[in-house]
Symmetry: C2
Subunit: 455 residues, 2 copies
């Protein structure tokens, strides 16, 4: 049996993130002010973000150096391992070679600290005292709590109320890192109070929690906002995943024919995929790039590519993206990290440019794949990661049918140790394939903001 | 800032376990038959264990080769990383260098698969079809489920009922690996039925669960029993921890003045400590070896060194060990993996020989240490591992007082992602320092089996 793990030395950890905006054949559509519908400039974002991050958001430089204090924290778990899934290949009887990058080795158990750490660093460097953010299942809130603590920032997390109530141990992780965690909608913001006035038992949503976090950050000079996905700079911070993977595939003397990732807001997918897409855009070998999304929240496969708000309260600028409509409420499936109405503008743009394929699977299909993976490889994946596992298994089975020994690489973005109640329900046969309401989707899509074609 | 992680290549993974019985200045007291009080031979253990493991139990060879199929599975997560705790040192203001070996990278999140995998392998090789075992918090049951699945064995886990009810997600992990998990006391065994007849709502204990698992294994020819700690061969399998750590300390150009581990049954402690003790016994540099146990279950610091049963139902042979008495019920603190009335005979023997020091801390002290560690190093330790963290911090603070730049190594045997409810209680101020009942201890100790001094 040949090698299982491909590990890099700390000295081989990438020194710069990769900014795919440098290699785009066509620039991203501009971000618009929701009132004027005019493109916004860096200054418009200053109430929410420190200037270093805003400049990363709009930069077209190919490489942006990772500051040493960020690298120092990355070294607590990075470089992350890349595995050859020998036992999964055998279980599937496929001639394909399957590799996976494993981001569950981070302190938070997922890829999210890759961007939480630089975001906390740049905010602290700009003299910010407090960060607000939203979290659904809790992966992002945990990660920002971890990173904020390291750089001496207060962190206030608005957690979607239904998760806050159902997953108290997630709050315990955030508190272990010294953060404060509130159920959203809350009474701490005007928007939260408005939502609660209409419906005191509102279960909350990511869109509402974003509105609350943004509102608080916009009001206070010493407080900024941090987002765990969607934005360009967030996706760029995640490219360390793909950059490491490239070195590790070379160590394995292989190169992916297919790269697979799961998509919610798009950050872990971009992390593994963008360096490979950029490599092809610059004339290198081309890999097929496959985004796997939940059938219950299918922004890439069923959404509209249009300008929309990032939040429910309509406080954010308008970005062009694949969206199900900001008023769309995804059903309550277990991959909480993928329950978002929109898709990162960069991922959406690359989908439109034909660089990315997208498929959707139900949660039942994904848990089945996750259990198969766990029994073969030992690691129990997070429900979100199960989508990538399912996508990779489908590619491997296609290779088996076609008799092709292709190389498949996927991103195992987190472990499932915080999500075992979902597996419990799966085994008890209580996991339903939650479907969204077609009428609600049609209504949410018909309510998209009207933006002139020229924009 | 100098290096954070010390990683070994797969090719540097040890090829043999270390058997400290080869280097003992005085042999272990014999294991006695509970009826005849005569030393038992290998054949007496055959109903419960395959002969390969029995021979390891009594072997005095220094090195026992790790079979290649076991190494193949070890490679899924081994070699495990060793870290320099730069940020913890800074937080403590200590001149000491603190290193920790991290076993939470295994699929089960703890060190337990190090022995679960070879136990499953040797049983499968002997034609066994089914393994029974007990589990408290669930770490061991999870690990044996993982390993049994890999080698095609059915696994039946008796989980202490109070944990079974309080931690359903643990059962979900075992089921993900294909195992069957029952609450103990159960109706599947004669002993379980007897306990339930006396008290239908019995919360269970490790000692009772062991009796049930042993009873079932003894009855069926195709079924054997697996234990997660205490026995010589189990401790030996864990020595891969210390053997790797030795190589990694050399990479770091350092050597521990103090080695710290937490002790319940003794396996993770033995894993990190025995290779260092053996090194000293063979004339090498001597490290102080510190065992840290819970004040609520203090077998090494308050128990009696005497012959006792390993289980409550008195089905096991008698071994000489530090014991609180087989009828002692430890209070329900959160480090479930340390709630056992006895201590491994090898650890007990080495304590008597003066090779090991022991200290005890309350769970409040240990959680406080764990939170300090999590905020500095990012990893949230398991409640069991918090005892080792506390022990290492106390050594580092002593170094600070004494102005000594000693090197401290401890074993971080697992992460706490499955145990966040305990942290939640800690933050809510609801974590009491459970004390055992002195009268109950005195009674349990007075009930030790009477064995002639000569034995």
């Amino acid at each position: 049996m040949s090698q299982t793990k491909f590990l890099l030395e700390e000295s081989q950890m990438p020194r710069a993130w990769y900014n795919i905006q440098a290699d785009l054949p066509k620039a991203l559509p501009p971000v618009l002010h929701p009132g004027t519908l005019q493109p916004i400039g860096p200054a418009d974002l200053e109430p929410l973000f420190p200037m270093d991050l805003i400049m990363q958001e709009v930069s077209t430089e190919r490489e942006i150096e990772i500051p040493e204090p960020v690298r120092e924290i990355y070294r607590l778990w990075r470089p992350a391992p890349l595995y050859r899934a020998h036992r999964l290949e055998k279980a599937l009887g496929t001639p394909a070679k399957i590799f996976y990058k494993y981001e569950g080795v981070s302190p938070a158990g997922s890829h999210k600290p890759n961007t939480a750490v630089p975001q906390a660093f740049y905010n602290a460097a700009a003299g910010v005292k407090r960060l607000t953010t939203e979290t659904g299942a809790g992966q992002w809130g945990t990660s920002l709590s971890f990173a904020g603590n390291i750089f001496g920032l207060e962190v206030l997390v608005f957690q979607v109320r239904v998760s806050f109530d159902q997953k108290p141990y997630r709050r315990a992780v955030m508190e272990t890192y010294g953060a404060r965690c509130l159920p959203s909608p809350s009474n701490e913001t005007e928007y939260g109070r408005r939502v609660l006035a209409e419906r005191p038992d509102h279960p909350g949503s990511l869109g509402i929690a974003i509105s609350e976090a943004v509102e608080l950050a916009a009001q206070r000079a010493d407080t900024k906002y941090a987002l765990g996905s969607v934005l360009n700079h967030v996706l760029m911070h995640q490219t360390i995943i793909g950059l490491e993977s490239m070195q590790q595939m070379e160590m394995a003397d292989a190169w992916p024919d297919v790269v697979v990732g799961c998509t919610g807001g798009g950050s872990n997918f971009a992390g593994i995929a963008f360096p490979f897409i950029g490599h092809a855009l610059r004339g290198g070998a081309r890999s097929r790039i496959v985004a796997v999304e939940p059938a219950a929240c299918p922004s890439l496969t069923r959404g509209k590519y249009a300008y929309d708000f990032g939040d429910t309260g309509h406080m954010t600028p308008l970005t062009k993206m694949h969206t199900l409509g900001s008023q769309f409420t995804p059903p309550g499936f277990h991959a909480g990290g993928l329950r978002y109405h929109g898709m990162a503008p960069l991922v959406s743009h690359l989908k439109e440019l034909g660089e990315i394929e997208a498929v959707a699977y139900t949660q039942g299909q994904c848990f089945e794949a996750g259990v198969l993976f766990a029994r073969a490889e030992g690691i129990v994946p997070a429900p979100e990661a199960n989508h990538a596992v399912k996508g990779a298994i489908e590619e491997a089975l296609r290779c088996k049918r076609e008799g092709k020994a292709e190389t498949i690489l996927f991103n195992l973005c987190g472990h499932g140790h915080f999500d075992m109640t979902a597996y419990q329900k799966y085994f008890a046969g209580e996991l339903r394939d939650e479907a969204y309401d077609e009428k609600e989707l049609a209504m949410a899509l018909s309510g998209l903001p009207s933006v002139p074609e020229a924009a």
